[in-house]
């Protein structure tokens, strides 16, 4: 794959432009000279075998891991130089692989904390639980099938419900770029179905990056698929094209 010469003007069309991204841990390059672009409203699925660097890519975009070299541009903002919370405020939301929610708080409070208002110290002290907040929380709760559990402490939710709650916590922020790390992993069949349904509604009107192993699910939603292998892009394109790529078959089935 040849990297085209990119200028700033060309960047404009992309929501996210990742270029020459490399990160090394003690010499081991977990992500190696990676470049890819995500369009507005595009749904991109990243697949690849274990240890291919999928989660690391998400970590790099959301600022959890600092890149060794390379650039990540989100709507012309250089994310590699920004702090995590700044990246979030710029409009990037991220769901972790294991449900990451606040177990000591109720579902309502979980969502309320994620509500994008009162994010400074003073703001948090003076934050009022007014009607718009309550309405919005109610709306999201209904969307994620938890309207009846609002007063429940989050630790008592089932695994699937926890995943939904985390998705809800992202939705309430209304991010322009949503990143989901294995959203259906560990779910029962019925939960999985409900989740797919949920994802279909929430991915509208925003760009989404999903890491997923479930090929049926991928086929279902992906506009474009990127296959990672040993920190590099092995193949990229529509699902059908990727599936036919001999290199991909080699990696997945070759051993």
């Amino acid at each position: 794959m040849n990297t085209p010469v990119i200028t700033d003007t060309m960047n404009k069309d992309f929501v996210l432009a990742v270029e020459g991204l490399t990160v090394s841990f003690d010499g081991f390059k977990a992500v190696n000279d990676l470049s890819f672009y995500v369009d507005e409203n595009e749904i991109r699925v990243i697949i690849g075998p274990n240890g291919a660097g999928k989660t690391t890519v998400l970590d790099l975009i959301c600022g959890r891991t600092k890149a060794t070299t390379g650039s990540i541009k989100f709507k012309d903002q250089e994310l590699t130089r920004m702090k995590e919370h700044e990246i979030v405020r710029a409009g990037v939301g991220r769901k972790f692989q294991n449900p990451s929610i606040y177990e000591d708080l109720t579902v309502f409070e979980n969502l309320e904390i994620s509500y994008p208002k009162g994010r400074s110290v003073v703001g948090a002290l003076t934050f009022r639980r007014d009607a718009p907040v309550k309405e919005r929380v109610q709306e999201i709760a209904e969307m994620i099938f938890l309207a009846d559990q609002l007063d429940q402490r989050a630790e008592y939710l089932s695994h699937g419900q926890k995943q939904w709650l985390e998705i809800g916590m992202l939705l309430i922020q209304d991010p322009e770029l949503l990143m989901l790390d294995e959203p259906v992993a560990g779910m029962s069949v019925s939960e999985r179905k409900k989740t797919a349904e949920l994802l279909h509604t929430i991915i509208k009107n925003r760009s989404v990056i999903v890491i997923e192993h479930d090929m049926k699910f991928v086929e279902d939603i992906a506009h474009k698929v990127t296959v990672l292998h040993q920190g590099k892009i092995l193949s990229e394109g529509p699902m059908a094209k990727v599936q036919a790529d001999p290199k991909v078959i080699e990696v997945y089935l070759g051993h």
Binding site: V88, R89, S100, L105, T106, E109, I113, L125, L150, D151
Partner: protein
């Protein structure tokens, strides 16, 4: 309850709890204890300010500081400097080589009041300094460390080292600080003799008043969204960060708040006890203050007050009757609290007493409001957090 939201930041059972404490401190103890014992309680209550700060800082935000004595001391020293200057009027000190400066400066050949003592001639400045100086210090320390995501054990050790450094500094710079003897022989506050029994009784009530105000403040912080963010941070710091919050700012805030609260305690200590010395700044008092919080329940605002009173009462009565056993008692308390009742008295209350009282308060103590059963497992090494 949560769904409807609260119009006021206190829940009914909180109000009852505060009222009971207020009655105990303002009515029951003054009526039942003689002056002498009441002044003991007054002194203990100054430590309760520190314990209260630790509930917010350690219990809620998961930041264990082993250097709260630093802030207690800074507050106490600010107040002591004011009182010492008042006690060192030119007439009182006319036998000195340089009259009008504190006696220990005169002994150390200092002939002019150091510049940083000058503003402590004014009570207004002193009161502001009591609150602000420790907060600034906490801000500098907290900002440097939390921005770089130092936490847990590392933060504890570093604050402990700070306590050691400050002690060495105060002891070493005796010309400016009074050295190991501290600042002693404090007499009047704006002309009002603070050594008399009546003054001490008034100071006791002032102390209780300030403590109750601080408790209300703590409840306000706890019940605000900031309080919930602190709990959230202790649980899943990354998630809070990825919800768009600058986590370090919140930690710095709560650390500074705890510092200011401790400093109020220190200032009240100086007023009630009549002196301040480096022995309240060091490592040992700082860790002892943590145990007050732990015994009371690290997540319970009122528990911290009871914990402080209880441990100190035990200390006084133990060391009067069985001096050799006291260290066993204190050491055992540390271990027992950690091993068997990590949420302290408040935890025991929630588990055994509250369910039975529940019907009385119309089921106010709901499970969702109760103290979480497991102790927070905060304190990860920053090596992993980079």
């Amino acid at each position: 309850m949560t769904k409807t939201g609260r119009t006021f930041f206190l829940r009914p059972q909180d109000m009852i709890g505060i009222a009971i404490l207020a009655i105990l401190l303002l009515v029951v103890l003054p009526l039942t204890l003689d002056n002498f014992r009441l002044q003991f309680v007054g002194k203990y209550l100054t430590y309760a300010f520190v314990a209260l700060g630790l509930v917010l800082c350690w219990g809620y935000a998961g930041i264990l500081s082993l250097g709260q004595g630093v802030f207690f001391g800074l507050g106490g020293y600010c107040m002591a400097m004011f009182l010492k200057l008042e006690a060192s009027s030119v007439e009182n000190t006319k036998i000195q080589t340089t009259p009008g400066i504190p006696d220990f400066m005169d002994w150390n050949q200092i002939t002019q009041l150091p510049w940083f003592w000058e503003p402590f001639h004014h009570l207004g400045f002193t009161i502001i300094a009591v609150l602000v100086v420790p907060a600034i210090f906490a801000f500098v320390v907290g900002f440097a460390m939390f921005k770089r995501r130092v936490g847990g054990v590392y933060f504890a050790i570093i604050t402990q080292a700070l306590a050691a450094i400050l002690t060495i500094l105060i002891v070493g710079q005796q010309g400016y600080t009074g050295g190991i003897n501290g600042i002693t022989d404090l007499r009047t506050l704006n002309g009002w003799d603070i050594r008399t029994d009546s003054a001490k009784t008034i100071l006791y009530f002032v102390c209780v008043g300030l403590l109750l105000a601080s408790i209300l403040l703590a409840y306000f912080v706890k019940s605000s969204k900031l309080g919930r963010i602190l709990v959230a941070m202790r649980d899943k710091e990354d998630r809070v960060r990825f919800s768009g919050y600058d986590v370090s700012n919140f930690k710095v805030f709560v650390f500074c708040l705890a510092a200011s609260l401790s400093a109020i305690g220190g200032a009240m200590f100086t007023l009630q006890v009549g002196f301040m010395s480096p022995s309240f700044v060091g490592i040992v008092p700082s860790i002892e203050m943590v145990i007050y919080t732990a015994v009371g329940g690290r997540l319970s605002i009122l528990g911290a007050i009871y914990g402080t009173l209880l441990v100190n009462w035990a200390k006084t009565s133990f060391s009067e009757s069985f001096p050799e056993l006291w260290l066993f008692g204190l050491g055992g308390l540390f271990i027992a609290v950690v091993l068997t009742f990590p949420n302290g008295i408040a935890g025991l209350y929630q588990t055994y007493v509250a369910p039975r009282l529940g019907p009385l308060f119309g089921g106010a103590a709901k499970r969702s409001d109760a103290t979480p059963p497991a102790p927070p497992s905060s304190g990860h090494a920053p090596a992993a957090a980079e």
